[in-house]
Amino acid sequence: MFVEDIRNDFYNTLLGNRVLLLVHYDVDAICACKILQGLFKCDNISYTLVPVGGISELKTAYEENNEEIKYVVLLNCGGTIDLVDILQPDEEVVFFVLDSHKPTDICNVYSDGQVRLVYKDEEENIPNFDDIFKDDDEEDENEEVESGREGIEAVVERRRARKAWEERRHTLMFNYTQFSYYGKPSACVLLELAARSSRLCQAALWASAVATAAHSALHARSPARCLLDAEALHRYVAAAQRHDDSAANRTACVVMEKDAWLPLYREWTLEAALSHAATLAPKLKLYARSGSSRLRQLLADMGFPLQQARQAYRSMDVELRRSLLTALETAAPKHKLPVPTKATFILQRPHLPPLAALDTVYVIMAHIEHETMPKAEGFQQALAALEVSGDNEAWRRGAAAARKCLQAVASLVHTTLSSRRLLLAGPFSYFIVQEGTPEAGVVRGPLWLGEAARWVAGGCARPLLASAPGPPATCLLLGLPPRFDHEPRNLFGAAFEQAATKSGVSVSLDYVDSSVITLPTSQRAQFLDALTALLA
C-alpha cells in the first residue's frame, strides 16, 4: 500500500513511538538516513539504527531488534522482497519502506496496511490488483452449486477464462519484474518531507545533493532522470541562498556551481584526477601505450604545464586553477572527449576548503567498502563524513581511502584491458578479478566492482559481467546492462535467477540489488555457461 501523504501518513505516525531504522549500505541510503536522523532529532523520536547489507542481514537485524517495536523504517532495502513473508512479523508491526531499488514487490504494493511504501514512483508500471490477485475460494464454491449442461459449459468457459487470465498475469508479471532498476533517490524524497515539515537545513540539502550526485556518478539513473530528480533540490538551494545571504559567511552552505566532474581533484593532482575520472579515462585509453601521451596532449591543449598538473591541486598556480573549467571545456571536444564539467552542488564552508558532492560520493563509497575496516564501522564513518559543520576528519580520511580505491580500480582496469582479460562469451563479455592480486581486496564489494565494470565497459553495446573474489571460496558476480549510461535498466537480476535454477548452482541472491550475486568460485564456470545458453 502506498502512503498518500508523506507527512501525515508516514512521519506523523512515527511521532512519540520508538522506531527501528534499517539502512542499506549505499550512498543514497546513508544520505537519506542523515536527513531522517535530523528530523527525528528535532522531534525527539527515539530510534535504533542498524545498517544492513543484504536480505539475510535484514532478517537478523529485524529479529534482534523487534522487541517492543511497532514501527520499522527501511531505507533502500526491503522494497523488492515480500517483507511479510520473509520477516514473519507480528500483525501490529508496520513497515514503512522507502526503497529506490525497483521493481517493488507486488505483495508489498498490495499489502493492506502492514507494509506501507512511502513514495510512489510514477515510472513504475504496477499491474492492477485484479490482474494479479483473484479470490480462489469464491470460484470453487460457485462451481459446486451449478450443474447440468449449462453448468458444465459455464465451468468450461470459466476455466478457459481463468487460463487466459493466468497467462495474462504471467506476461504482466514478467514484464514487470524483467528489469531491475533504480527509482528516485530516497534522499530526495525525504528532502521533500523535510521541506513540508519546515525543517529544511543545510545538512538535509547537502545529504540530498550527495545522493543526487551518487545516482548520476554511479549511473543508477539515466542522465535526464537525474536532472529531473534534482529539480526540487535546485529550488530549495536557490531559496535557501536568497534567504540567508547574511549568514553565508558564518555557516556552511550548499551552492550550485559549474564544476569539473573529476573525482577528488581538489584533494589530488589534476593529472591524477583526469586519469581516474570514470567519464574520461576509458576514452583516453590509458591502458594502451599511447594513453599517457594522449593525456599529455590533452593537458598541453588545456595550457597546463605538466609540472603544474602533477603537483597538488591546492598548490597549483592560481591563474591555472581559475582557468581550469574553460580550459577543460575547450580542450575536451578537440580530443573527442565528453566535456567533464557539470552544474553540481558544492558545500562552501567558512575558513575551510569547499567540498564537492561528487567527491563525497567517493568518500562514502570508500568508507562503506573499506579494504580493512569492518563494514559497520565504515557506515558510522560515512555518516560522520556527511556532517556539514566543523572540520570533517572522517571526510578527509575517506578521501585518502577513496584515492587509493580509485587507483586500484584504474590499475585493475588497465591490466584487464591491456592483457586481454576481457573475455567474450556469446551475448556478453566478462572479466574475472583473480584472487591474490593487490586490487582484489578493494573490489570485493559491489560498489567498487561496479565502478571497475563500468570503466571496463566504457559504454560499449554489450552487456558485461564482472566477478571478484569475495569471502573464502565464493565470488561476487555483477551484471552491467549494455549502454548503461543511457538506459540503466538491468536485465541480469532475472537472468541470474533463471540461470541459477537451470544450472543447479547454489547461488546466493542475498544482495538487495538483484544484479549482484555471490556463488561458489568452483561453480562459476558452470554458471556462466548456463547464463550464455540462457541469453543466446
Binding site: 520508538r18 532529532k41 525527539n44 535504533t48 539504527l49 545498517p51 522487541e67 559497520a376
Partner: protein, 195 residues
C-alpha cells in the same frame, strides 16, 4: 633495608595514576617483614643500651625508618582507596570481573561498604521534598538535550528502558535515546555520544 622496597611500591602506583593496579600482596608482605626485622633489632639494642649508651641513637634511627615505612604503606593504601572510590562512581556498583580481581579481599569489602553507604545516602536525598532519592552519579554535567544520539561500542546485550521498552545494544548500532538512560552507559564506555 631502609624503606627502599616501599618506594618501589609507591613508584609503581604513581606510574599508573589513571588506573588501578593489582594489589601487590607480595611486596606488602615483604615490607611488613622488613619492619618486623627492624623492630626486633631495636628491641635487642634497646636492651643493650644500659651498657653502650651510643646504641641509643641507632635505635632512634631505626625507629624513624620504621615510621617511614609505616607512612609509605599507609600512603599506598590511601591512594588505592581513593581510586576505589572513583571506581564506584565511574564503573557503577557492579565491577567488571577484570577490575574486581585487581582488588584485595579487604579492599573489595571496603568497596561494597562504600557502595552501600553511597546508595543509602542517595536514596535519602530529597525525601523531604517528595523525591525518592537522587542518583548523584547521573548528570555530572548539565544535560543539554533530552535525547542524544549514541553509538554502541561493544556487544552489551539487552537494555531495558524506563518505559519498559527493551533495546539490543550491539556493536556499531546507533540509537537515539533519552539522555537519562544513556549517561551511565556512556560513562562506562559502552556507548559513545555522537554530536
Amino acid at each position: 633495608m631502609f624503606g627502599e622496597k616501599v618506594i618501589e611500591l609507591l613508584k609503581e602506583a604513581e606510574r599508573n595514576r589513571d588506573t588501578i593496579d593489582q594489589y601487590n600482596d607480595e611486596k606488602v608482605r615483604q615490607i611488613i617483614e622488613e619492619m618486623h626485622v627492624l623492630f626486633k633489632m631495636n628491641m635487642a639494642d634497646a636492651n643493650a643500651t644500659t651498657e653502650n649508651k651510643s646504641l641509643w641513637t641507632t635505635v632512634q634511627v631505626r625507629h624513624s625508618a620504621l615510621e617511614r615505612n609505616k607512612r609509605c604503606l599507609l600512603a599506598y593504601l590511601y591512594s588505592r582507596m581513593n581510586k576505589i572510590k572513583t571506581l564506584r562512581w565511574e564503573f557503577g556498583s557492579v565491577l567488571p570481573p577484570d577490575v574486581r580481581e585487581l582488588l584485595s579481599d579487604s579492599e573489595y569489602e571496603w568497596f561494597s561498604k562504600y557502595s552501600t553507604n553511597l546508595a543509602s545516602y542517595m536514596r535519602s536525598l530529597g525525601q523531604d521534598i517528595g523525591y525518592s532519592g537522587i542518583d548523584l552519579t547521573e548528570n555530572l554535567r548539565p544535560p543539554k538535550s533530552l535525547y542524544i544520539e549514541v553509538l554502541c561500542l561493544t556487544d552489551y546485550g539487552k537494555l531495558e528502558l524506563e518505559d519498559g521498552d527493551v533495546i539490543l545494544l550491539k556493536k556499531n548500532s546507533r540509537h537515539f535515546l533519552p539522555t537519562s538512560e544513556c549517561q551511565t552507559l556512556i560513562r562506562q564506555g559502552i556507548l559513545k555520544q555522537i554530536m
